[in-house]
C-alpha cells in the first residue's frame, strides 16, 4: 500500500539524508516522471491551467514527503497517489466536464466483430489523430477514465492501480476492460463518421 501522510510543514528530509542528497535523489528518481504526472493530471483535471497547478502541487508535495517514499517501490505509483489525493481533495468540482458517455449503454463486444471483414487489423485507428483519442478518453466516466489513464498512460500494474485508487484488483480489471471497450466503440464511431472505415452491417 502507498500510504500517504502528507506533512503540514516542510520536512527537512529523512534521518541520514542531507538536503543535497534528498535533492539529488528526487531529481534522479522522481523528476523523470514529470511528463507522466502532467499527462495524468491533464486527463483528470480536464483543462491545462488546472493540470499545470495540479502537477506543480503534486511535485512539491512529493518533494516535501520524499522521506515517506519507500526505496525500491514504483515511484510513478507513489507520485500518482499524491496526484489523485490532491485532485480529489482540492481540485475536483462538480463542474460540467462536457459530455460523458454512458458506459452501460455499450455492448460488451469488441469492435473486431464489426471490422473483421474490412480491416481485421484495425489499421483505421492509426488515421485518428492524437487530439481525437484524448477527447474520447475525456468522455469516459471518471472512475473508468482513471483506470485507463493509470494503465495506458502511466503503465501501472493492476495491483498498483488498485492501490492508487483504493479499490480491489477485480474492480480495476473490469473497469479497465469496459473503459477500453467503450473507447474502442467511440473511436470506431468517429472513424466511421470521418470516412476512415465503412460501417458494417451485422
Amino acid at each position: 500500500m502507498y500510504t500517504l501522510i502528507l506533512p503540514e510543514t516542510v520536512e527537512v528530509g529523512p534521518v541520514g539524508f542531507s538536503p543535497d542528497e534528498k535533492r539529488e535523489a528526487f531529481e534522479k528518481e522522481a523528476i523523470p516522471y514529470l511528463d507522466t504526472v502532467y499527462r495524468v493530471a491533464l486527463r483528470l483535471a480536464g483543462d491545462s491551467t488546472q493540470a499545470d497547478d495540479l502537477t506543480q502541487e503534486t511535485m512539491l508535495k512529493a518533494y516535501k514527503a520524499w522521506h515517506q517514499y519507500k526505496q525500491g517501490t514504483n515511484v510513478r505509483a507513489w507520485l500518482l497517489t499524491i496526484l489523485r489525493h490532491t485532485f480529489i481533495n482540492e481540485y475536483r468540482r462538480e463542474k460540467n466536464r462536457g459530455t460523458t458517455v454512458d458506459i452501460t449503454e455499450f455492448e460488451q463486444f469488441t469492435v473486431f466483430h464489426d471490422v473483421q471483414e474490412v480491416d481485421p487489423e484495425g489499421r483505421f485507428f492509426d488515421r485518428i489523430v492524437d487530439d481525437e483519442v484524448l477527447r474520447a478518453i475525456d468522455q469516459l466516466p471518471e472512475e473508468f477514465r482513471e483506470c485507463l489513464v493509470l494503465s495506458d498512460i502511466a503503465d501501472l500494474s493492476y495491483a498498483e492501480i488498485a492501490d492508487v485508487m483504493k479499490v480491489p484488483v477485480g474492480t480495476v480489471k473490469s473497469r479497465l476492460f469496459r473503459a477500453r471497450q467503450a473507447l474502442q466503440r467511440v473511436l470506431y464511431d468517429y472513424a466511421v463518421e470521418a470516412g476512415y472505415i465503412k460501417r458494417s452491417v451485422r
Binding site: 535533492r23 528526487f26 531529481e27 534522479k28 523528476i31 523523470p32 516522471y33 514529470l34 511528463d35 507522466t36 504526472v37 502532467y38 499527462r39 491533464l42 486527463r43 491545462s48 499545470d52 502537477t55 506543480q56 511535485m59 512539491l60 518533494y63 469488441t110 469492435v111 473486431f112 471490422v115 473483421q116 481485421p120 487489423e121 484495425g122 485507428f125 492509426d126 485518428i128 492524437d130 483519442v133 484524448l134 478518453i137 485507463l148 489513464v149 494503465s151 495506458d152 498512460i153 503503465d155 500494474s157 493492476y158 480489471k173 479497465l176 476492460f177 477500453r180 473507447l183 474502442q184
Partner: protein, 87 residues
C-alpha cells in the same frame, strides 16, 4: 515435471485477453491462453486486434509533454538543475 496445459474455450480466452496484453496472468494461465490462441485462428485475430488497439492508445495518449515553463517553475521552486527531465 511436464504436463499438458489446461484447456480453455473461446469464451474464457476472450475474458483473459486484456490480462494477457497487460502481462497480468500467471505463467501457467498465460501458457494456457497462448496454447488456445495457437489453435484458434479466430481468437488469435481478436487478440491481435485488441493488442494493436492498446498499443495505439498508449502511443497516442503519451505524446504530450509538460510545458517547458511549468517544468522550469517546478525545478526552480525545488532548487533543482533539471538534468534528468526525460523519461
Amino acid at each position: 515435471m511436464t504436463s499438458e496445459p489446461m484447456q480453455v474455450d473461446c469464451k474464457e480466452a476472450a475474458k483473459r485477453l486484456n490480462e494477457l496484453i497487460d502481462g497480468e496472468l500467471t505463467p501457467e494461465v498465460e501458457e494456457t491462453i497462448e496454447h488456445h490462441l495457437k489453435d484458434c485462428a479466430r481468437c488469435m485475430a481478436v487478440f491481435e486486434f485488441e493488442e494493436a488497439f492498446c498499443r495505439f492508445v498508449k502511443i497516442k495518449a503519451k505524446r504530450q509533454t509538460a510545458p517547458e515553463g511549468l517544468k522550469e517553475r517546478i525545478l526552480k521552486e525545488l532548487g533543482l538543475s533539471g538534468n534528468s527531465c526525460n523519461e
